[in-house]
């Protein structure tokens, strides 16, 4: 089967032999696919293509086996100029998708979420907030539905001024005597995460802790990109 001109982002690439690349791609219509770009490093046809991360391409490929064969690639939009610090944050976004999304499962909304997140990230908006919205939406789109706006025990709406206990498996409840895997969290954070209006530092930190706790359950292993960013942040704080 030949797939024509599909909007794609390259999530990861690695060298294959001297002249070829293996690309792990997020495509708009076919989900995550792996492609081999044969002989591209010596083929003049691809001289003006960077095969870079975070750039939108239109890719055509032949899909016979698990590994598709790239036959055409062209820039789809104006190129994104990627600030280097943001590139490291992008590694985290890419690694999350590669870890949580199965291959060949079409996800139009996820493609749009990825594109929207990159746009916000590279336009210098607060990455601590952008990442929380990305994590929340990713979990919801992949079916790990997380309840944020109602008390899962009583069914009542979440109130901003109240404290809740968020249990990983079920969601928030006003019954603070409950125990098990979870954490205490303010109603304000839950509501702001739900309607994407996080602004104050304490709510951003609470949202981060909540999503880290939930993601830890589904990711099985710590993400390498997160470790890298932590070492970077540590060095940066010392260089100031």
């Amino acid at each position: 089967m030949r797939i024509e001109h599909t909007p794609c982002y390259i999530l990861h690439r690695r060298n294959y032999s001297e002249t070829s690349l293996i690309l792990e791609v997020l495509s708009r219509n076919y989900g995550r696919v792996n492609l081999i770009a044969k002989g591209i490093k010596k083929n003049k046809k691809y001289k003006s293509t960077n095969f870079d991360l975070y750039q939108k391409y239109n890719i055509s490929w032949i899909s016979k086996t698990e590994l598709g064969i790239l036959v055409e690639i062209e820039n789809s939009d104006k190129v994104n100029k990627v600030p280097s610090e943001k590139a490291m944050i992008g590694f985290y976004i890419n690694e999350m998708i590669l870890t949580l999304l199965h291959k060949h499962e079409p996800h139009l909304e996820l493609f749009d979420l990825y594109e929207y997140t990159l746009k916000k990230l590279f336009s210098n908006q607060n990455e601590k907030i952008i990442l929380r919205y990305f994590e929340k939406n990713l979990l919801q789109l992949l079916g790990y539905g997380i309840a944020l706006d109602y008390d899962t025990k009583t069914g009542n709406s979440i109130l901003a001024e109240k404290k809740y206990y968020y249990k990983i498996d079920s969601g928030p409840t006003s019954d603070l005597s409950i125990s098990g895997d979870g954490m205490k969290i303010s109603g304000k954070t839950l509501l702001q995460l739900e309607d994407e209006s996080l602004s104050e530092i304490e709510n951003i930190i609470e949202a981060k802790n909540l999503l880290s706790m939930i993601l830890k359950k589904y990711l099985n292993k710590p993400l390498e990109s997160k470790k890298l960013y932590r070492s970077y942040a540590q060095i940066k704080s010392q260089s100031k």
């Binding site: 001297e18 975070y54 990627v82 690694e95 890298l228 070492s231």
Partner: protein
């Protein structure tokens, strides 16, 4: 199962070289057997010797059979400037441009998705070099890919922490290049980094 002949084994072994497929491997094997057996014997001896003895320079991680490579040992080199590159072939490329400082070879770049972190590319070793009192400037000459840029950015913070000057090689249109064949990202960088003349 029929055992492979020595010739077949030789052809297979020659394919470990970059850019050598089955046809080229056959051609090389036939040429050496027909016309240059002495050359091939010399090559095989040298190959064994090189593979056993060549390691990495203790200071810059470039290939060498000694503890320190010839560049690190060269007293005429300007030790106040270190150029950080991704691979030994990048050292050769920069040497051709007559650079007179010294190098640090990462032997890769940061790539968390491949599990390659700061210690895997020798940044702990580079950190030690940054404490050298003679050192004044670090030039970051990693590749201009996203991973290369991220690596350069990471190292730049390490260098700044040590209060040294850190510079990045310029990005732009290659000499002798025609604009219509240059990719868009290169033009974006060339325009951003334009200079007054």
């Amino acid at each position: 199962m029929i055992e492979q002949s020595l010739l077949e084994k030789l052809v297979e072994a020659l394919r470990c070289m970059p850019g050598v497929g089955r046809k080229s491997a056959q051609r090389i094997a036939h040429y050496l057997l027909q016309r240059d057996r002495d050359g091939a014997k010399h090559l095989s001896l040298l190959m064994t010797d090189a593979m056993e003895k060549i390691g990495n320079c203790k200071r810059c991680r470039n290939f060498t059979e000694n503890e320190l490579c010839h560049i690190c040992l060269d007293k005429k080199r300007d030790k106040s400037i270190i150029c950080v590159v991704e691979s030994p072939s990048d050292v050769d490329a920069i040497e051709e441009a007559n650079f007179r400082g010294v190098y640090f070879v990462l032997l890769g770049h940061l790539s968390p998705l491949d599990g390659i972190g700061p210690d895997d590319i020798g940044l702990n070793q580079l950190e030690t070099l940054l404490n050298d009192k003679e050192l004044k400037e670090v030039i970051l000459a990693t590749n201009t890919t996203v991973e290369g840029e991220a690596t350069a950015h990471f190292i730049s913070e390490m260098v700044k922490k040590n209060g040294l000057e850190v510079t990045r090689i310029a990005h732009g249109v290659p000499m002798g290049g025609e604009l219509e064949f240059v990719n868009s990202m290169t033009i974006v960088h060339a325009l951003d980094d334009r200079k007054t003349i």
